[in-house]
Symmetry: C2
Subunit: 461 residues, 2 copies
């Protein structure tokens, strides 16, 4: 990496953007961290472009001065993706937040990268359509694509991987390209769209996205169901999926997480046992049939205490409680912070992976509730540690390490949805082997000066 000429970069960018280039301390601080436990690092300046053309001009200026470029959505990532570890210019897409087009017949929408998922769904409300990827946080669609996000209803509707049809991207030399079309499929050429999905800003900046939409279901039924063991809950989900029940959501919360949930939600008070939180979508008859099929499976596998959330307000409360799992976890050890990790394994290995994870948690002496997108074999751990307690941080890192190694051993991946960022860099060789070398070859070819989010997903020498 050539050493960047920051001063010239900032000066040229100020000429381009005026007030929309900021070097104010609080703005730098906001763009120097995310929601992870990664140590922060400040950008040299933050640019607020309003158009693809401006993003392209910014990148051209940065390229000319070998200055790092770090794309920024709203900073909800969990592995330090947006942290400018080598300084440079943070490109904040918050002023590019227009929904450009909604094609109701084609079930797609064209959006700018700074549109958040709830904003998009608000704008879609009158159409009867919905954007389904839901990572919990109100992330930007651009950030979600860049990190290959998924979430609670990926089991039914897919992750960003399945829900992006086309992209507009600014490459590391400032060129603007389009990948894909609004056609549902294509066999024409390399799949550049998927190359950028999950590239974490290391190959270019996404400036426009065409995303898939789905019709809002006629009926939604939600329920919670307690099991005596995690195995029982996982087996019920495996059988339900094999049977073809199109579960819209199926979340696993272990007994520790349930304890936190009860503290945080005094009006819920569910049994402190492993739970599935379920949602069924369909016509009234179809949703009802799914419910009955699932009930007969869960009865067989020791499920009990089905509690229904039939009214929309109860359902919202249920899913809010699930989405607020992080805060519920923190209620288990007030004053502590959550150190988060995730991994994903083939579902047949999920119960074993969780059982061994629980042993590792016990050995660590820490409290760490488990929440999982069980239909995908993906689970999260919120490890509770005291702020500024170096010893607990060390133990949390060790625990996360052992769980990620376990995921690899069980045929899985070190991250189902949180991404690589800074926190998962050291697993690249172990997970990808020769594939990592190929990733580096691609990175080097597309970004030879290594200006795009340097030091993250792929490290160049």
């Amino acid at each position: 990496m050539h050493s960047p000429d920051i001063e010239s970069t900032v000066s040229a960018l100020r000429e381009l953007l005026g007030e929309r280039l900021s070097t104010g301390a609080s703005v730098l601080a906001i763009h120097g961290r995310d929601e992870a436990y990664t140590p922060p690092a400040l950008p040299d300046a933050v640019a607020f472009p309003e158009s693809t053309r401006e993003v392209s001009e910014i990148v051209k200026i940065c390229a000319a001065h070998h200055c790092p470029v770090i794309p920024f959505g709203v900073g909800t990532s969990l592995e330090g993706h947006v942290i400018p570890i080598h300084g440079g210019i943070s490109i904040d897409t918050s002023r590019m937040k227009r929904v450009l087009d909604v094609n109701e017949q084609d079930l797609d929408a064209v959006v700018q990268p700074g549109v958040t998922r709830t904003q998009l769904n608000e704008e879609l409300r009158a159409t009867g359509l919905m954007f389904t990827v839901d990572p919990g946080a109100d992330a930007t669609i651009g950030g979600m694509a860049a990190t290959r996000a998924s979430g609670t209803n990926t089991v039914r509707y897919g992750a960003m991987r399945e829900n992006v049809l086309a992209l507009e991207v600014v490459l590391p030399d400032g060129e603007i390209i389009e990948t894909g079309t609004r056609a549902r499929k294509s066999a024409a050429g390399y799949d550049l769209t998927h190359l950028f999905i999950g590239s974490e800003g290391t190959l270019g900046i996404i400036t426009e996205l065409t995303v898939r939409l789905f019709g809002q279901p006629e009926t939604i039924q939600a329920a919670t169901c307690a099991f005596e063991t995690v195995e029982g809950a996982v087996d019920a989900v495996i059988l339900a999926i094999q049977t073809g029940i199109p579960l819209a959501r199926v979340e696993l919360l272990d007994e520790v997480q349930m304890k936190g949930l009860n503290i945080k939600n005094p009006d819920m008070q569910l049994p402190e046992k492993p739970h599935l939180f379920l949602e069924f979508h369909g016509s009234e008859a179809s949703a009802q049939e799914q419910v009955e099929m699932f009930k007969s499976i869960s009865d067989e596998l020791g499920g009990s205490e089905f509690q229904w959330a039939t009214k929309a307000e109860d359902r919202n409360r249920l899913w809010k409680a699930r989405h607020d799992a992080y805060y519920a976890a923190k209620a288990l050890r007030p004053g502590c912070e959550g150190f988060v990790t995730d991994c994903c394994v083939p579902i047949s290995n999920l119960a074993e992976c969780i059982a061994r994870t629980k042993k590792a948690i016990a050995a660590s002496g820490l409290i760490a509730p488990i929440v999982g997108h069980v239909g995908d074999g993906n689970f999260h751990l919120v490890i509770l540690i005291e702020p500024d307690n170096a010893e607990e941080l060390r133990r949390a890192n060790q625990l996360a390490e052992s769980i990620n190694q376990l995921a690899l051993e069980l045929g899985g991946t070190v991250t189902g949805e949180h991404g690589v960022g800074v926190g998962k860099k050291h697993y690249r060789q172990a997970e990808h082997g020769g594939g990592y070398t190929l990733m580096a070859t691609i990175k080097r070819a597309i970004d030879p000066n290594n200006i795009m989010n340097p030091g993250k997903l792929v490290s160049l020498n």
Copy 2:
């Protein structure tokens, strides 16, 4: 491209493979063509490896002598992908056809690249699971991944793009890498799996695949439904998808195709009007509900003459008639050959695209029935021309050209599922623009000596 040393290559390969390296005239001829109208070209030799290790050794030998390598499945491609236009070694995967693993709980299977889709489904039969991608031809799974194939039930179950979880690939230097895992999703690193899906053998050779499986539906209902106009049929499908009816198959056959189908299937005799061929999967109640919902939509939009294929044998006859569309088309002009093309547009533009296609067909003076995977916006044209009639071939090329240009104009792609191969090379710049330059950058980085299927999807200088 360095000029290859064929003699040394063949001699080294013979030492490695013995009888499993062939230079026999009939073997070369089989590997010098596919099912397309592309002029054939012979390989210098055909290798029949039996393991990944052997593929790697073959590629290393070819790499050392700058000799082209052309992966070959069963030769059912339709755009000349497997034709060795620069000579070289055709690597035939037909001896790598073992199903290595079926994971019933995870709904996946690990297969060698030479396994065909019907072979896989035969081997799955006892499990109650199925592999769903169905391009009509009994292609190999390796070839289907390499060409990003799809087919009649992609509308419900996805294309190869959605149905491959992981790959093992031999790179152009002979190195063996793995991409992806059996976990259902991952946010770890560039999506190498999707980079190889659709790369048409230009970046490496796929030597192992992990594919998704689905449970066989409890109930299957199939039917044909006639419409007065193509627009009516397309509108019915749009509305059905918006309503959330999970159509398992929905095929459009125009009135010309129906005429051929009636000639070819004297026992069917359906009205010579645009038709939808439909299939519904689900529990008995759910399939029935889908049928009723679709009926009410089609009634509203001028659909009529629903004919049901309730028994398995009737259903098989129906789909055989659909899959044999090529032969039915040929029945319209006995003695002629079919020049095939496909394109794909956003479904909202499909009726217009087909209407304008029909005008272009009329202007060409040729007969060309239309069959489409209407739920995906994808349709095929079989242009009937006399063998060795240069003037008709010229008009067929011109017609295909105008339809592919039309697809681009209407926001689509020049190929929904047949791929680029040789036949669609000249659209690369028009469809991808700067994206094509990026594809060339990637190709150059991964295959700097341009030995992998040279002169196809990406041309290097």
